[in-house]
């Protein structure tokens, strides 16, 4: 009882109320306000259909993809502290992450497996949306945004694949960019030159993939994720 009194005083204090303008979410009104007035929760409507909350309906796959993206952003930012995108340093930095940096190995493992998981979960999310016909009117365009997000996810994973600069990275990227080179009329050569900053996978390619991986693609993904969620909400989903 004594404890509850203290907590009660905290929750009604001026400082607390300056942060959270609504009361504790114990009344329906306060619950609605917790969603409505909260920056992070306002991507959701105040109320949703019971059906869209059934775990066996969505398997939370879309939310999982977004969650994995957040984990990847956080672990990725930490990895950037120890990694330099140059041919002479990159591999040594990876070795340092493995053996020198505290929890460096864990950090990299977390990033790698989250990345694989995100690609897999995004694919499963697409399968789910198809099975439940959730691309049908009025949500046609959101499916298009989703397809672009899937492509961006794959590109994010692919550009990250080169960064460790080991044999797996180098040859994995070489196989992929050689395919792009096959576009006729010399367009493929131009495209691969633009992507690699040269004719081979070298110093310039590493820098370009780094910038794509850490800046351009994440920004594009975040913007489209915003659009994707906003449209889900407007069309009556979570």
């Amino acid at each position: 009882m004594e404890k509850n009194k203290t907590l009660g005083r905290l929750f009604t204090s001026r400082v607390w109320r300056s942060v959270f303008r609504h009361g504790l979410p114990i009344s329906n009104r306060a619950r609605a306000e917790s969603v409505f007035y909260n920056f992070f929760l306002h991507v959701h409507p105040v109320k949703v259909r019971k059906r869209s909350l059934k775990i066996t309906y969505t398997w939370a796959l879309g939310g999982l993809t977004a969650g994995l993206f957040i984990i990847l952003t956080l672990t990725g930012a930490l990895l950037m502290l120890y990694y330099r995108p140059s041919v002479s340093e990159a591999y040594a930095d990876m070795k340092d992450l493995q053996f020198v940096v505290s929890s460096g190995l864990f950090l990299r493992n977390m990033h790698r497996w989250s990345a694989h998981a995100m690609v897999a979960v995004a694919f499963l999310h697409m399968l789910r949306v198809f099975y439940t016909g959730s691309y049908k009117p009025p949500k046609e365009f959101n499916w298009v945004v989703g397809v672009i997000l899937l492509v961006l996810t794959i590109l994010l994973s692919y550009t990250g694949y080169l960064l460790p600069w080991d044999q797996l990275a180098f040859w994995g990227i070489s196989v992929g960019t050689n395919m792009a080179r096959a576009v006729p009329f010399g367009i493929g050569d131009k495209m691969s030159y633009l992507l690699l900053g040269g004719n081979i996978v070298g110093e310039n390619a590493l820098v370009r993939f780094y910038v794509l991986h850490c800046f351009i693609l994440p920004i594009a993904t975040m913007v489209l994720m915003g659009v994707h969620f906003w449209r889900v909400r407007k069309d009556g989903g979570v």
């Binding site: 939370a60 969650g67 694919f123 499963l124 691309y135 397809v147 080991d166 044999q167 196989v175 050689n178």
Partner: protein
């Protein structure tokens, strides 16, 4: 036997292959669940939600999000502690590993390189896959089955997508990951990857075999009879067949009438392209047929299909 098991374990437990094994299990599990729900919905019907069926986001949705976040963090932490991300020798442009494989989600495309030229397997088909996916909501004329699992109300859409996803995407990835060894030769998952294995590749020139017409003349120009025959086959498959179906069924089928010529044409071409892939795979794997059509324009644009 123990060697076989050992080889099998080696390839399954390769760190980068773990997500594929996981996804395989998840996809099969999920499809089974989806079809189970679809059967139940088809039998019992779906109840339209009313305003009264709505619940508050706080706490009902937030609770789920919180739980899922914790579960994911636990799974990833265990995964990251038990399995280390691979780091091989430093990149060496002068030493090509055999086989050199792209990341797993591209292995379907890399596997297609066996059956098609690089610009078709690596550029044209992926473009069609993406464009096809984007078009899905605009060419599907069926308003039913929006927001619940069903099979009976949209059998064609569900089967096409399931086959496209499971067979053409997941199966090609599995094939490329687990069954392609050195030299991109076929290895059973329990076989040892012998780097010195040599298999005589005796790819057959289709039209030469049947009619004694080689694809190219002695001077390297295209044999016009072959170009005509192959072209007729491909164009017949991708253009004449849809037109014939349209002519024959546009009056009888209410679905076709509802779709209109444009939607039907796009659906048919995309579907037949998709169906063409396993046909070509079968022709190559069973009869070693290299191309059905050898044709090119200028020095750059080739239609070796």
């Amino acid at each position: 036997m123990s060697d076989a098991l050992h080889n099998f374990w080696l390839i399954l437990s390769k760190p980068d292959n773990v997500p594929i094994v996981l996804m395989m299990i998840l996809v099969i599990f999920y499809c089974w669940l989806a079809f189970k729900q679809a059967r139940r919905n088809d039998r019992l019907g779906v109840f339209e939600a009313t305003q009264a069926d709505k619940v508050q986001v706080w706490p009902y949705l937030v609770k789920i999000e919180f739980l899922v976040t914790i579960i994911v963090l636990i799974v990833l932490t265990v995964w990251a502690i038990t399995i280390n991300a691979p780091l091989e020798e430093a990149a060496n442009p002068t030493l090509t590993p055999n086989p050199s494989k792209a990341p797993w989600y591209f292995l379907g495309l890399q596997e297609m390189l066996v059956y098609f030229d690089p610009w078709i397997a690596g550029v044209m088909l992926p473009t069609f896959i993406i464009v096809g996916l984007i078009l899905v909501p605009y060419i599907d004329p069926n308003p039913k089955g929006n927001g619940y699992y069903t099979f009976k109300e949209r059998p064609f859409a569900i089967s096409t997508f399931a086959i496209g996803f499971l067979i053409l995407w997941v199966l090609l990835i599995i094939l490329g990951t687990f069954m392609r060894g050195p030299g991109w030769y076929y290895f059973w998952p329990w076989e040892y990857w012998d780097t010195h294995r040599v298999v005589a590749l005796t790819n057959i020139d289709l039209w030469e075999k049947i009619f004694g017409i080689p694809s190219k003349n002695v001077d390297g120009s295209f044999n016009l009879i072959q170009v005509a025959l192959g072209g007729a086959l491909i164009i017949g498959w991708l253009a004449l067949l849809p037109m014939w179906i349209w002519k024959k069924y546009k009056e009888k089928s209410s679905v076709l009438k509802q779709m209109g010529a444009l939607k039907f044409g796009m659906t048919a071409v995309l579907f037949l392209m998709m169906a063409g892939l396993p046909i070509k795979m079968f022709l190559r794997l069973a009869f070693n047929i290299k191309y059905i059509w050898v044709f090119g324009v200028g020095h750059d644009l080739f239609f070796n299909i």
